[in-house]
């Protein structure tokens, strides 16, 4: 059978905020102007805008050294041109005081077989939490902090990175906006949307490489006659995704029926990705930032939280983070060197979590939206809580189920 990706290529659309000194967005027109200037300076570049954000796109990349070179060149030029306009270029998972989730969307190509790409999407589902954990970079969002390392994923990136549902490869048409999105018909790629925007340039490259390598590694023997995903896969992926958003690399995932630290699972992911990475001219040695992160269980979100401990006001924090990254592009790397290793955390149960969010007469939707659980699994949790006498469920002809903590 022909390989799914022929040739194996990679790319990204990496969203970043373009801010005034005051930390408010410069606005769409200014961003379009900046994007025009970057394109004129780097004709190979496909940078553009997405709503109120600058979206870096490098086009189709075939080799690791090409990715690093283009990525470095792009950031240098974009930062320089932004500084000339007296604005700051800041890739980060969210703006602490606004509703604006910001993502790194990674594309793997070149793929023209949609049913097999859907089979890969099903197979990739269980690996999504690993990427959520590594890329976590939104620990302060809409004034909230302390509960998640990726608030962006906890809010499903405001409809832009929804929990994935399995598809039968022969029956599915592909959808837009899930953690893995098959864009075969219009982009010839399979896209990973669950990563928060990476503040570190090197990490962005490494995430792109790892994703392409993993997709290549999982693309053998894809079966379009059956749906490979099981009910258990869907349930545990949902819970793992929530844990990864909450605890980052300190999370423990349920993996093959056992609880394992996400860093351990991530090393398995690197093993699977190894062959694909070598096709792209790279190897596991090139994942130096990710390697250090796994060793210390530290993420970019932990870096932001460490600064927040000294600068708790979200408005002030945003300015401080921008100043740090403006003056020191390798700040996160330096942080990894000096930061202590963090322990893996025992996760709270999904039942306890949901119970903590239930108050009085809440609609099922209001509670359910707090987790990536499928409606079926969510109903089972509510039934369990009801059987244990922890919640009361009443039916209302207009509002449907209304749930109250007893």
């Amino acid at each position: 059978m022909k390989p799914l990706f022929e040739p194996l290529t990679m790319g990204y659309d990496w969203e970043m905020a373009v801010l005034k000194e005051t930390m408010e967005s410069v606005g769409e027109e200014e961003i379009i102007g900046l994007s025009d200037e970057v394109r004129n300076a780097l004709p190979w570049c496909r940078v553009g805008i997405d709503e109120d954000l600058l979206e870096a796109r490098l086009g189709v990349v075939k080799r690791w050294d090409e990715l690093v070179r283009k990525n470095t060149e792009y950031m240098e030029v974009a930062r320089k041109l932004a500084a000339r306009k007296k604005c700051v270029l800041l890739p980060i998972g969210s703006r602490p005081t606004e509703q604006c989730s910001i993502g790194s969307h990674i594309h793997t190509g070149t793929c023209s077989d949609l049913p097999r790409a859907l089979a890969l999407k099903n197979r990739m589902m269980r690996y999504v939490p690993v990427f959520v954990a590594i890329a976590a970079n939104s620990p302060v969002y809409r004034f909230a902090s302390g509960e998640y390392k990726s608030y962006r994923i906890s809010t499903n990136a405001d409809w832009c990175s929804d929990p994935q549902q399995p598809f039968h490869p022969r029956l599915g048409r592909g959808t837009w906006g899930e953690d893995i999105t098959v864009k075969v018909w219009w982009n010839n790629t399979v896209e990973l949307r669950c990563c928060d925007s990476a503040s570190d340039v090197n990490l962005m490259c490494e995430l792109t490489l790892l994703t392409a390598g993993l997709m290549h590694g999982l693309s053998d023997d894809l079966d379009v006659e059956t749906m490979e995903c099981t009910e258990e896969d869907v349930r545990w992926t949902a819970i793992n995704r929530w844990r990864a958003a909450k605890y980052g690399l300190q999370a423990k995932l349920i993996w093959d029926g056992e609880e394992r630290p996400v860093a351990e699972v991530a090393r398995k992911v690197i093993d699977i990705a190894d062959e694909g990475m070598s096709v792209l001219g790279a190897g596991r040695r090139d994942l130096s930032v990710i390697g250090m992160m796994l060793k210390k269980r530290q993420t970019q979100a932990d870096f932001v939280s460490a600064i927040q401990r000294s600068d708790p006001d979200p408005h002030s924090l945003m300015r401080t983070i921008a100043t740090i990254y403006e003056k020191d592009h390798d700040a996160f790397k330096k942080y990894l060197e000096i930061a202590p290793a963090l322990p893996a955390i025992e996760a709270m149960s999904i039942e306890a979590f949901l119970l903590s969010k239930i108050t009085r007469e809440m609609s099922a939707f209001e509670v359910g939206v707090r987790t990536p659980l499928s409606p079926y699994d969510f109903d089972r949790v509510i039934e369990k809580l009801e059987a244990e006498g922890k919640v009361k469920v009443e039916m209302d002809e207009k509002w449907g189920r209304r749930i109250t903590r007893t």
Binding site: T22, Q99, F143, H315, K327
Partner: protein
């Protein structure tokens, strides 16, 4: 609310310590004030270029250095304002029952003009620099500000300032009026008036006036729009100006924005009771997801009640039911909000349209789909404790009789009809008691509605 942006001139280290495995230094930063931290925040004149000192902690090796920019929090910003501007404080005079007090201060804590209107039941603050909005409404019986902002940011430089914010867009989109500077105008019948030319709509002028009744827990706001297009030599088509008047109310009853905030919206079908404990989704201005459940039509008696579930503390909003199209309720960036969407209207040249809103504060209530009864307690005065009973509903009679129960003894109280400009009428009675009763109950029967509200000590 105001946050300032400042540039660091000099840094002096106080001490260094290790926390969370990282070395941190506490420093004094001597800064020069550059601007407000958002271009849409108003900065008082005379502050730019002034210096102040703030305390900060940095994580090593990312030192705070001269030339760095800092955002000052509201306390630091207010301290800088106090340091450099002379703020005129308000009089400590307190009005009694049947009196009201209107004061103007040169500056509020953000260094901007403010106007304060109060009687024995409520105290409201009007901010002319931010759309002449009612930015605070204090229930003097409980001591809580029932309005709230949150300070969140939206697209296009919009800051969630809170209070009662007006808009001329069908969906409550803010850019028209929210941040405009209003000029003080001469008032005829009202206590305060402001005027403003709407920049984005040439020829449109707004006159906004406020009135506090001396013996009722009620603040009235009236917005009149007039349209005078410029004469041109060409025979221009006589166009009409379309107005979609939508006042938005950002609130937190009892000073809390928690799930205990309830909305009571009377409709033809039923009295809708809703809670805002957790937002289902949040959305941006200019698009996004609209939850149909939040939008309520046929608000026939022309009121919406916002109440604290556990305390009975409440704030009622009145509008003209003939003008009101729907009420919609939302929650964004941690702030419950209510929009009263009025019917779209065409304003002809030389024409004038007015919209009224009434805001009533209370300590206990009873509500049906057609009627509202509120008992309000006022601030303690030398003469005793003031109370008021207010009814709003479909009744049109000249007066109503309510039954008042005071620690077991009952008597009749006459509620007198009071008109509110542009938003119908209420029936109200106020009285002073020598001491605070253990229980004060009010009962009223209007048509099929039997209402009973009780305040307990």
């Amino acid at each position: 609310m105001l946050r300032l942006l400042a540039r660091v001139d000099r840094v002096r280290t106080r001490d260094t310590y290790v926390h969370g495995g990282l070395k941190r230094s506490r420093v004094y930063c001597y800064v020069t004030i550059k601007s407000s931290a958002r271009s849409t925040f108003k900065m008082p004149k005379g502050l730019k270029g002034k210096t102040t000192r703030v305390s900060r902690t940095y994580v090593h090796p990312w030192k705070i250095e001269p030339g760095d920019l800092l955002v000052l929090d509201p306390e630091e910003s207010q301290a800088a304002i106090r340091e450099h501007l002379r703020l005129r404080s308000l009089s400590s005079q307190r009005p009694g029952l049947g009196e009201k007090l209107i004061q103007a201060a040169r500056f509020d804590s953000d260094g901007l003009r403010k106007y304060v209107m109060e009687n024995v039941f409520l105290r409201s603050v009007i901010s002319p620099e931010y759309g002449a909005r009612v930015s605070e409404l204090h229930n003097l019986g409980t001591g809580h500000n029932e309005l709230h902002g949150g300070g969140g940011y939206g697209a296009g430089g919009y800051v969630l300032l809170g209070g009662v914010e007006e808009s001329l867009s069908r969906v409550g989109k803010p850019p028209d009026l929210w941040n405009a500077v209003y000029k003080k105008a001469r008032s005829r019948d009202e206590d305060l008036a402001f005027t403003h030319k709407v920049e984005k709509r040439p020829g449109l002028r707004q006159m906004k006036s406020f009135l506090v009744l001396p013996d009722a827990p009620l603040l009235c706001q009236f917005s009149a729009f007039s349209f005078s297009p410029k004469k041109t030599r060409k025979k221009a088509k006589k166009g009409k100006m379309e107005l979609n008047y939508v006042p938005g109310v950002f609130f937190g009853i009892g000073g809390e924005t928690s799930y205990t905030n309830l909305f009571y919206v009377p409709t033809d079908e039923e009295l809708v009771r809703m809670r805002y404990n957790i937002p289902p989704w949040e959305f941006r201005w200019g698009g996004g997801f609209w939850d149909w459940r939040k939008k309520w039509h046929a608000v026939r008696p022309g009121f919406v009640l916002l109440a604290g579930e556990e305390t009975g503390e409440c704030m009622a909003l009145f509008a003209d039911p003939r003008e009101l199209s729907f009420a919609w309720l939302g929650y964004n960036l941690g702030t419950p909000r209510l929009y009263l969407s009025h019917r779209p209207k065409k304003l002809p040249p030389k024409g004038r349209i007015g919209y009224g809103i009434g805001l009533l504060v209370g300590s206990a209530f009873d509500v049906t789909k057609e009627s509202l009864l509120v008992v309000s307690r006022g601030r303690d005065t030398a003469g005793g404790v003031p109370f008021a009973i207010t009814y709003r509903g479909l009744s049109r009679s000249a007066s109503l009789n309510a039954r008042l129960t005071l620690d077991g003894a009952s008597r009749s109280v006459k509620l007198v009809k009071k008109n509110m400009k542009g938003c119908g009428h209420i029936y109200c009675a106020s009285f002073m008691l020598d001491r605070e009763p253990d229980r004060l109950g009010a009962e009223l029967t209007v048509g099929e509605d039997h209402l009973r509200a009780e305040v307990r000590r």
